[in-house]
Symmetry: C2
Subunit: 457 residues, 2 copies
């Protein structure tokens, strides 16, 4: 049967495929940093070229307000369904740079892992999907179903351009469902499918206590200190026992049923508590829920950064005049990101002392939580294929992360998303020394061959 041919093709091309991934990873397409604007564009063009090399007949860069969408289409048969493969070519900023063993944009293989920013999230996963498609095309002349490709360049900043982009491209993007090459597997040995992903809301709080930084000896005893107000405000967002202290934050959250808790426990028992391997002196979070339940199905408020005053070496006797901190919230059904940001604004207003001013700056890229129904045919097929590839049935998981487009696609195209990606939780995504296992890549390419084949009627 044809899959054996695919396997042989992939085995023969493994080195070549790895080199192509490394070439892609060398482009520092950091969407959050304006100085990398040109690199982001270069990554888009590189990816479009790769689609053309595979043989995709229609490839184009669709402009958005910011970074282009790399789009491709290959219609093979009216009788077959149309799947659109989704992923992103932008990456997270690499800092702190000094914690990387090898430089983030100089990919390096060590002990069966490829290290680089984007190795897992998401360039590695995107390339694995495309190299699976390539194997089908080279061995069978064409893909078994109709394919579209949609690779965006703003996922790591919350896909801010997509809400305006989608309504203008409904026809071009029309499809039966989406296959996401962004996501991952619970472990190297345990497959999983995703039932939900969290929403997100992001903002920055800006604090000011004086016109300018002041000498702490002449002023510190008399005037407010922005570093202290910033710390006080940032600390006010959680109760001592770990709940989010923003009034109304949990009001719309759907409680887990006993059945859902059992399913989650099963999913996590097999995946293993990866969060125990990060060197934390103890776990921490909302009381009343297991760490796994919290990651999968409870909303959080995370302070991603805080800064005020002097950060250099040694001593500077200054009373800082301004301070800042960044917040992201991970949201679950039925929380609404804009409503959450309004609650945060109210919280800041209530907790800012009269000797300071504090403003909340909303960031674009809010996303509602996402969910797919349990009996969706493309989800069921994915589960069958994963069982075949991994040799055991997939667990049904709920993602702690956010795929903003999942909810946008659902709303704008009426198309549900099946997550079909192959990174593992030890891949340090969004952190120094990001990696992807070569074994995950091999398995991922084969899985794409099998999945697209199985989806054909």
């Amino acid at each position: 049967m044809s899959l054996a041919e695919c396997d042989r093709y992939l085995e023969e091309r493994e080195q070549e495929h790895l080199e192509a991934i490394q070439e892609f990873l060398r482009i520092p397409s950091v969407s959050a940093l304006p100085e990398h604007q040109g690199d982001v564009r270069r990554a888009a063009e590189w990816l479009a070229d790769y689609l053309r090399r595979i043989g995709v007949p229609q490839v184009e860069l669709l402009p958005t307000e910011r970074n282009p969408v790399v789009f491709g289409a290959w219609h093979v048969d009216d009788a077959q369904p149309t799947a659109m493969i989704y992923g992103h070519y932008d990456v997270q900023p690499p800092d702190p740079l000094d914690l990387w063993t090898s430089p983030p944009f100089e990919p390096q293989v060590r002990e069966d892992k490829l290290y680089a920013r984007g190795a897992s999230d998401d360039k590695g996963n995107v390339m694995v999907a495309l190299q699976g498609v390539e194997a089908l095309v080279r061995t069978q002349g064409r893909p078994p179903i109709n394919l579209k490709f949609f690779f965006e360049g703003e996922e790591e900043i919350g896909s801010p351009s997509l809400p305006a982009f989608m309504p203008n491209h409904r026809e071009k993007l029309a499809c039966d469902f989406i296959i996401s090459a962004d996501g991952g597997q619970p472990s190297l040995d345990q497959p999983g499918v995703t039932l939900t992903a969290k929403g997100i809301a992001a903002c920055q709080v800006n604090v000011r206590t004086a016109d300018t930084d002041l000498h702490s000896g002449m002023f510190g005893a008399a005037v407010p200190n922005a570093a202290q107000v910033t710390a006080h405000l940032a600390a006010s967002f959680h109760t001592p026992d770990g709940r989010v202290a923003v009034e109304g934050f949990y009001d719309r959250v759907r409680e887990l049923s006993e059945e859902e808790r059992a399913e989650l426990a099963a999913a996590q028992a097999s995946a293993g508590p990866y969060w125990e391997k990060v060197g934390a002196p103890a776990l921490w979070g909302e009381p009343g829920y297991s760490p796994g339940e919290r990651v999968a199905a409870r909303p959080t408020l995370d302070i991603n950064g805080i800064w005020s005053g002097f950060q250099g070496e040694g001593v500077k006797t200054v009373t800082p005049a301004e301070g800042h901190f960044k917040i992201t919230c991970r949201l679950v059904a039925d929380q609404d990101p804009e409503e959450i940001l309004t609650l945060i604004e109210r919280h800041v207003e209530k907790h800012c002392p009269p000797w300071a001013t504090a403003t909340v700056e909303r960031f674009p890229g809010s996303a509602r939580p996402f969910g797919i129904r349990r009996d969706h045919p493309a989800l069921k097929t994915a589960m069958e294929v994963l069982e075949q590839i991994f040799g055991k049935p997939p667990v049904i998981a709920r993602q702690g992360g956010t795929i903003p487009v999942a909810e946008i696609f659902q709303r704008e195209l009426g198309a549900d998303m099946v997550f079909f990606a192959f990174g593992t939780p030890d891949g340090n995504v969004h952190a120094p020394n990001e990696s992807m296992r070569l074994e995950s890549m091999r398995r991922g390419r084969r899985a794409y061959c099998a999945y697209l084949t199985a989806l054909a009627k």
Copy 2:
């Protein structure tokens, strides 16, 4: 009389004197930043040259563990007292750079003020003293009393090398009292002398919650967040009403007598509440004391900087693994800096939650609080001269700032310090747009001529 000659000399040389100050200010001698090591050395050499130009017969750079002391001696008469003029040639870091109207190391005169980092603190004040000495020397052939000069290069980092340096140079530095060219006047019209200066203790708290920064979606709900722990710890150092919350912090503090409070109120009524002009929405500090009492005579704990996680533009969905904040305490009699740092360590130990580790890194440069007795002859003479120059009697002030050497000189040489410097509180010392009024400079040079003359027996 000779002072009229001095005045004429100073009037004629005013432009030349200003240019010399500007030349000195162009050297970015930032002692806190290792990259300015060479500039610090250059400033020391420049200052030694200036002493030689005045005619000081013995000038040398005395090496310390870090930055040299610029030393000079001019013995004129065994029957006269020996005064040692103290100051420093190092400056604070200039950041944040974007808040400066003109670059910090390109001095600029605007509306009778000279703007530059160090314009007041302390290069401007040092030069004013030396140009006063120069006027005496040029008009009378020699200074009226025996002089020594001691200009250090580590004041802005807490004079860490001096405690080890002093015991080895007791003979060379022997003097009857010290005149400090570091300090200032309460206002342009109101003279003042300093009775006390605060001590200082400095440290940095380092927080860690995991081996590496983590993806907030995959880990944020399960593991601790270093930015949040850092904010919590930093916020724990003050009670909501503004007292320092470190147990035992106030135990050794001498309470002000009613008489002292009245004296302080008088001093501050004339100086004016300069802390009200910094753009703070409200004043803030320890309850039960006026802002002026707090600045003058109450100890404080100041957070000078805090940082953790992502500080770039936009959003990064990261759970930070480490955080830091810097503390300085301003101390009053009879607090002991090392004991205070021990209390801070205990506080951190007590308030650090079990899901994080926190360590306290003590910075060198602790200083005990300083005080001079009210009837010291050099202090009384200074008060008479200031009354003559300003036309009104000086107030007796207590400095909110710290001059570590004041206490070191007292301990090591048995010599008390008289503060005799001419910057004003609107000079933005340690902040952007530092300046010194040209009028203060003129008055300062004349005051030095008069003071050194009056000190002669």
